[in-house]
Symmetry: C2
Subunit: 199 residues, 2 copies
């Protein structure tokens, strides 16, 4: 049986928790955002966030782990804005078992650039496009990525894209969206990749 004092203490505790929740709703923090899944729109939605951020005058760094995921269309737009750095660093991957040492070196170079940007609080948003692919191939230790997230500046947004996001990355993320493919013209109708849509 609960005493009146116990009841009052419970109510007070509940009130504190509620107040904290209300206060936190007005809070801002740099978000860890993951776009994963087999559908389209993972990189494209990251690109949309980059556009919003540069429109607000925020400083943005975009590192592309797989060549061609972001390409000529957006590069032409980014070129107008000094507050975004776009670095395609996926050149030279051989994938699979062809030249693993080389692939690890390519992934490492791109990751070092992401780490540098993430550690520099003058960046408001850092995008590691297709990082999940590199993690999937074990070209980079997942722990290094989790460590970088743990120590990143509080207000920096970190956006990671690519299918097969590791569970531990999803656990560490604030906002995770899975893009699910419902219909795809390139498979179902044999239509080739289109300018303005795919690249």
């Amino acid at each position: 049986m609960r005493t009146e004092a116990e009841h009052a203490a419970r109510m007070a505790k509940k009130k504190v928790a509620q107040d904290r929740l209300v206060a936190s709703r007005t809070g801002e923090k740099g978000l860890v955002i993951v776009h994963t899944g087999k559908g389209k729109g993972k990189t494209t939605a990251a690109l949309g966030m980059v556009v919003r951020a540069i429109g607000h005058g925020m400083r943005v760094g975009v590192i592309q782990f797989v060549k061609g995921a972001m390409t000529t269309g957006e590069a032409a737009v980014f070129a107008h804005f000094p507050n975004v750095e776009f670095k395609p660093m996926g050149e030279g991957f051989t994938w699979d078992t062809q030249d693993r040492a080389r692939d690890i070196a390519v992934a490492r170079a791109a990751w070092e650039e992401v780490k540098r940007m993430l550690a520099d609080d003058s960046y408001d948003m850092v995008v590691a496009d297709e990082l999940n692919i590199v993690l999937r191939y074990d070209y980079l230790p997942l722990d290094e990525v989790l460590d970088a997230i743990a120590v990143k500046p509080a207000m920096t947004h970190f956006v990671v894209t690519g299918r097969n996001a590791p569970d531990a990355l999803i656990a560490a993320a604030d906002l995770v969206t899975e893009m699910e493919q419902v219909k795809h013209p390139f498979r179902e109708q044999g239509i080739k990749a289109q300018k303005g849509v795919e690249f």
Copy 2:
């Protein structure tokens, strides 16, 4: 039992179908693209496609059916490019049963602008942002949208966003992605909408 002539006819037919498939794989066409689902990234990925398209010098029209879905961040970027028209037309919705006649008029005005752009083949891409919401409320007849899709210029990309895409629209689309919410900080952690991410 099949005769040799029947067999040869079947094989010839199969070959024709295969050739047609291979030929179509190199084909280009304007795509009807739908971003739906409860997760984030529907409008953001459309925005990413707009950026790609304007980077390629394509002419793009963006009609926003719900105020605030696309906002200041992207508008500041679009302002640099004469080949994109961005029209927020969702001002004045009352939603639900508050003033249905007014809401229908707001939706109608936005849709007429989409129809005008879709009928004009100088537009390479037309985005009807959050059109699905308006269809969901029956502010516009779905048949009108399907009719406009049926007669649009062959090379125009038409992008529709919003949760609860109608089945008939999905059937008419070439590329459909469902954005599924895996984790959302604003609900789960009480974090407010962030500059560069949400707007």
